[in-house]
């Protein structure tokens, strides 16, 4: 591997990990306040995996991710303002309010998107790598996905094809121990996930995804091999998400003790103490760094809240790329038909009425401060009308 990254780099990693942590904590609060709709999948606990792997990339490399991708956008350089505005569904969001939590995207920073379909991003990663290859560029694509995705057909299909065509993709399975609420040993016959690509011609290696230095080191080595040898590899990053699968997850599939055991290895705390021990930062600087992250998140929330919602007449924008020559009917349901306006309060109440789909709102996550639980339950009652926990 490369030599241990310099002190400035390591300090920046801690800053970015802290930013991601504080950003997502605040996003959870904003969800409870119903500023954010839909689903919100937090990666709290996985920051070392995110930062260690993404910092091993060159700026010209591509990163493609899943529906748990706020951290991936942030680590690649998408301003927190744009990520928060996307969560708020505002025009200044990185996907202009069209994608939401699961569909972040930032072409400028070569973050090629969060994808809501488990395993759906693997073929796209191979396609990006094919384009790099055919353009004669030495860019590499880092494709992250969860342990659950390793059971999808696209895992086998794409690893086989990428190995066959010698595409420069580094596949990284973020093994956070659960496919939604199903534990690894209950969803995968082979739990040694680094080996799952072997029969497809994609050798694997494992790293401790709670350790940012090790993750960086292993991913750097793997990326160098992918770049030079023109072949895909698989990295398994072993990590843990401290929060539920989504905000509406009662977490009945794991014990509090298990979560606590993993929390002792909190990548943020461990890495901060390590840097203090090594004299890279001192306590005061650590506190300042944390305050700075909070201030950036505050600014992001303020920005998002001030950003307007997309105008109703933008509903049909960007369904198609149309040139001046375009003829014919593209949408058989023209925008004028939507002029009746948004649903009234009564429409919404009727749609949310229990009975047809009236599961009780999920129990509040025990990590949400008590004063927020009522608000959370209320928000989820509104958000999760079908009683679903995706």
């Amino acid at each position: 591997m490369d030599a241990l990254p310099d002190a400035d780099s390591r300090r920046e990693w801690l800053e970015t990990m802290t930013l991601i942590r504080r950003f997502e904590e605040r996003a959870g609060e904003m969800y409870a306040r119903a500023k954010i709709g839909g689903f919100l999948h937090l990666s709290i606990g996985e920051e070392a995996t995110i930062v260690g792997s993404a910092r091993a990339l060159r700026d010209s490399d591509y990163l493609i991710s899943t529906y748990r991708s706020h951290g991936h956008a942030l680590v690649r350089g998408t301003p927190p303002e744009q990520v928060m505005a996307e969560l708020f569904g505002r025009v200044d969001g990185c996907s202009h309010g069209r994608g939401g939590s699961m569909h972040m995207f930032d072409l400028e920073h070569r973050f090629m998107g969060g994808y809501g379909i488990v395993g759906g991003n693997l073929p796209i990663a191979a396609g990006i790598a094919l384009a790099s290859d055919m353009h004669g560029l030495d860019e590499v694509t880092l494709c992250t996905f969860g342990d659950g995705a390793s059971n999808q057909g696209t895992f086998g299909e794409t690893l086989n094809l990428a190995a066959l065509w010698r595409l420069p993709v580094l596949f990284m399975v973020t093994n956070n121990q659960f496919g939604m609420g199903t534990a690894l040993r209950r969803h995968s016959a082979v739990t040694d996930l680094q080996r799952k690509g072997e029969s497809l011609g994609v050798p694997g290696v494992r790293c401790d995804g709670m350790d940012v230095i090790e993750t960086y080191s292993v991913v750097s080595d793997a990326l160098a091999r992918v770049r030079e040898e023109r072949r895909p590899l698989l990295v398994e990053a072993v990590t843990y998400r401290f929060r539920g699968h989504s905000m509406a997850d009662p977490e009945q599939y794991r014990t509090r003790e298990e979560v606590e055991r993993w929390r002792e290895r909190d990548p943020l705390g461990v890495f901060a103490r390590q840097l203090i021990r090594e004299g890279v930062i001192d306590e005061q600087e650590h506190e300042r760094l944390d305050r700075d992250a909070l201030a950036r998140v505050d600014a992001a929330v303020e920005f998002a809240d001030a950003s307007p919602f997309p105008a109703p007449d933008s509903l049909y924008d960007d369904v198609y790329v149309l040139d001046d020559d375009a003829r014919g009917t593209y949408a058989s349901d023209p925008a004028e038909k939507r002029r009746g306006g948004p649903p009234t309060g009564e429409d919404v109440a009727a749609a949310a009425k229990p009975g047809s789909d009236g599961e009780a709102p999920p129990a509040a996550n025990d990590e949400i401060p008590q004063q927020l639980t009522d608000a959370l339950a209320a928000a989820e009652d509104g958000h999760e009308k079908a009683g679903s926990s995706f």
Binding site: Y62, S95, H103, A126, G127, L130, N160, L161, D318
Partner: protein, 336 residues
């Protein structure tokens, strides 16, 4: 002009676009060494090499997804799926990604991808190889859908599809690959959203989809010679965008309309067209829009059953006469 078979016209489009634009790359099962299941890509491997004519594993969802990713990052992929039924394996990538990425990511990136595939009955291939599923793709905003019926349109629409910035579902017909027709040489672009009026007439409008445009033309000939009825035959050529204006203008003159498609009736192309015509030209109609469709069954293998499970000329003639009040309505669907 040259006389080419439909498959040769398609090949000509691929050949010319690949010569014109080195970003054009072909992906598909058996398109290279084998020359294509229907020989559309025959000889292209020899001219353009393995980098641009890529034989793929049998992994439809991944092949299309690779096309999506490559299209997002600067290539112009043309993916061949061996039949339209196999596209169902790729529906995730086609609908969730190809169709939605431009919108879902706020217009930051385009997906200039073409997915080619043949459809259609008539070769006794049974329920997993014979269907006409254009209605499934027509349903999805973000996709363009082309259904060429003639060799000239096969070439012209494919050349346009490859140059389009949107994902295009390009639906060929298995029974048409060997059909010959006059095809313009060199660059031949048929613009999307412009229907072909295959035959002019004042008595009844017949809209034919995919191969059924040809069936409709034969029916119009019979209507003229045996019944003195002048039918106007319209082949929309693309279903999205749809040249609704040409259809409505025709109906304004004929006041009667028959839609012929090979696919299933429920939620089909004809159901959609009938609704659009009724919504936008109700006052022009002297009779209900009549559909002639495939039978509402999985395609059977046995020849006599397969033959009656998709529409033929006689049913189109009967439907047109019915629209004119010359025969009782209700005998229009293929099968029963």
């Amino acid at each position: 002009m040259a006389e080419l078979r439909y498959r040769e016209a398609l090949r000509d489009a691929l050949l010319q676009e690949m010569r014109r634009d080195e970003r054009v790359v072909l992906l598909g099962e058996d398109i290279g060494v084998f020359g294509g299941a229907f020989k559309v890509t025959e000889g292209l491997l020899e001219e353009f090499g393995e980098a641009r004519v890529r034989d793929t594993p049998i992994s439809e969802n991944t092949i299309v997804g690779v096309g999506v990713g490559a299209a997002m990052t600067g290539l112009r992929p043309v993916v061949e799926l061996m039949t339209i039924n196999f596209s169902l394996l790729a529906f995730d990538q086609i609908v969730n990604h190809a169709a939605h990425i431009h919108y879902m990511f706020g217009g930051q990136v385009n997906v200039p991808l073409v997915v080619r595939m043949p459809q259609g009955a008539g070769h006794q291939l049974g329920p997993t190889h014979s269907h006409c599923l254009e209605a499934l793709f027509l349903h999805v905003p973000g996709l363009l859908v082309a259904v060429p019926a003639t060799p000239a349109d096969a070439k012209g629409l494919l050349m346009s599809a490859i140059r389009d910035e949107n994902p295009v579902i390009f639906i060929e017909h298995e029974s048409l690959y060997g059909v010959r027709g006059e095809v313009p040489e060199g660059e031949h672009l048929v613009h999307f959203g412009r229907a072909r009026v295959a035959r002019a007439g004042e008595d009844v409008t017949i809209v034919g989809i995919s191969r059924m445009a040809l069936t409709a033309e034969r029916a119009a000939e019979t209507l003229a010679t045996e019944h003195g009825v002048q039918a106007e035959v319209i082949d929309p050529r693309t279903l999205r965008p749809l040249d609704l204006q040409t259809i409505l203008s025709s109906v304004a003159r004929t006041n009667r309309c028959v839609v012929v498609e090979e696919g299933w009736p429920h939620g089909g192309v004809g159901a959609n067209l009938a609704t659009l015509i009724t919504e936008q030209a109700f006052d022009d109609l002297d009779a209900p829009v009549i559909r002639v469709t495939g039978a509402d069954v999985p395609m059977p293998y046995s020849k006599p059953l397969e033959d009656i499970a998709y529409p033929h000329e006689g049913q189109v003639v009967a439907a047109a006469l019915s629209a004119l009040g010359a025969q009782p309505a209700g005998a229009a669907s293929g099968g029963r």
